[in-house]
Symmetry: C2
Subunit: 355 residues, 2 copies
């Protein structure tokens, strides 16, 4: 009864860009950042990548509006909670697709929190596990998360180009590693966009022989420049037939339903195609799997353990995304161009531009 | 010029049941058995199982009519070629889904001829690799094939119940082994028919904890009797929800398109559903795979190495199919009942009945 009254941190009002309702434009908006918890790292956002998922989220997938998207975040730490050991104010910090998880299930204990059996707390449009508030993403001046889900950005990586590593990068890196891509394996990467261009760079750096698959003849030169050993045009039946039974693994980054049967035939016996784009459905003939015990898989982002590994790998190999940096007031234009596939290869918002 | 004229074997006219054209009834018909080649084993058919594939083949999948179906064959050797070392007249012999392959590609060299990169020669409706003639299946009084594709039936196995092991049995056994089902693994078997009932027996004998999935409440008791530890009714959302993230592997034997998304959710992280029924397409939400890095696979029968292993395993564990034996004149009735799922669990034709 005689204890001092709790000293709440002052609420901080954060400028952001939000979708005020489904299918709306992003508009200037603000929200209150929560009080710092003992394990929290608060940061000012430097760069936020625009992911294809953001298009889905401000549309059919979104649940809580107004919504502040953005889950490819690089920032600078401004404040840390009393229990934080890994970060200090001034550090460069990176945050990806999730900011919490149950931390107790088998995947969480293994550092694979993106597969948390209770579902991870997504960086935005999620519900905070402590107070039930809606989480806010990186299209904002500041953010906050538990240090378990914050990453150091290794020295030497361009910060704008590093932001997309936190979703596009880990989403490609995790399946490439899981399916043991490396020297001696032949890998296909389907779709040369935000994910695919990093898939090419990562697969090449892992030592694989890499083929880019694209439906766009105008993307051939770019794919070769990104590190592909060769390119297959997916609408050319002869090129596909010449690659029958060739690949150990195919990383399919296309986000719309497209014909998979001709691509499946290029997998060897026991090969796997991992589809990352969450299309509406798989357009594939089951017989094309049965003929060579092939699999279709999908995977979701990656956990904290593997994200740290990926960032170190990218630093070692000098890998960042090829980005087009835009200002906050250009977000809507960038989102529209992303929807039209008009970007090489990833938009990143410079959240300090205009300061 | 002075050499003796070649002494051709007399052509042998073989009574059979054939589909004279697509979608027709099977009717008595006869064909000429080829001359014995040095590596050939000729046999009289004792039992021939009726496989669901036979229904497809006399319908949309068939290519060469008249067609003599049947690729689950147990017979008795009548004659062997000069180079045959493994069989002698009088031996019990079993023949499955293929009678030849290229024998040179990597899968063939590994004894995995069902994945021959040139395509194996199917036991019926295939084209013989030597003379281009159409191959004829087991719904006939006699047959012939190279000894590489003929198997010994281990002593102690009921010969009628053994016939379905040559397709249904190996088709289940091969993926169960490939995906390392054994003690400590939890396995689901979807569909309790010709394949599924053998899948349950085999998975149980391999030491796994086995759940049967069925949409038919009337199949529950049968599934438990076959060895399932428990049964999930696939139309009961609560039962499915209780099994979320439970199984390492699911063997799906259903031959029609059915909702896979609820079943996928019962797989653990990195679990695989192997669909054996070649449905028209997979009715599955890609997100249900992404959430736990799950895979959909399919596999086709099994090679000679694994078929021999399977037969030995079945002999060791006393596994044969539960069969309803019919006479040759009952083939059409049996095919119609199979199409209506009215069999527990496999029809086998006694090709000598009525002799």
């Amino acid at each position: 009864m005689s204890s001092l009254p709790a000293q709440p941190s002052p609420l901080r009002t954060i400028s952001a860009h939000a979708a005020l309702d489904r299918d709306g434009q992003l508009e200037p908006w603000s929200f209150e950042l929560r009080d710092l918890r003992p394990g929290d790292v608060a940061y000012d956002v430097l760069y936020a990548g625009i992911c294809h998922t953001d298009l889905h989220m401000v549309g059919p997938w979104g649940r809580h509006f107004p919504m502040v998207p953005g889950h490819e975040i690089v920032g600078r730490v401004t404040e840390v909670g009393s229990a934080v050991t890994g970060f200090a104010p001034g550090d460069v910090v990176a945050v990806g697709t999730m900011v919490d998880s149950c931390r107790e299930c088998a995947p969480c204990v293994a550092g694979m929190e993106s597969y948390c059996e209770q579902g991870p707390t997504t960086t935005y449009d999620g519900l905070d596990r402590v107070d039930g508030s809606v989480t806010r993403g990186g299209f904002a001046r500041s953010g906050i998360c538990d240090e378990r889900f914050a990453h150091h950005v290794p020295d030497g990586l361009d910060l704008a180009g590093a932001a997309p590593l936190l979703c596009a990068g880990i989403t490609c890196y995790s399946p490439l590693r899981h399916w043991k891509v490396g020297p001696g394996t032949r890998v296909g990467v389907v779709g040369i966009g935000g994910l695919g261009h990093l898939g090419l760079k990562l697969a090449r750096a892992l030592g694989a022989e890499v083929t880019a698959f694209t439906s766009s003849p105008e993307k051939v030169d770019g794919a070769l420049a990104l590190g592909a050993h060769d390119v297959v045009l997916t609408r050319d039946e002869e090129q596909l037939a010449a690659k029958a039974n060739t690949y150990d693994f195919i990383l399919d980054t296309v986000s719309t339903t497209h014909p998979l049967t001709p691509i499946m035939s290029t997998l060897k016996l026991d090969g796997t195609l991992c589809s990352l784009g969450i299309p509406d459905h798989f357009d594939v003939a089951p017989m094309s799997l049965a003929m060579a015990r092939r699999s279709i898989a999908s995977s979701g982002s990656g956990g904290t353990r593997e994200t740290a590994e990926m960032l170190a790998f990218c630093a070692e190999h000098g890998i960042t995304a090829d980005v087009e940096v835009v200002k906050p007031e250009e977000i809507n234009e960038a989102m529209a161009r992303l929807a039209a596939n008009d970007v090489a290869y990833r938009f990143v918002i410079d959240m300090r531009a205009g300061d």
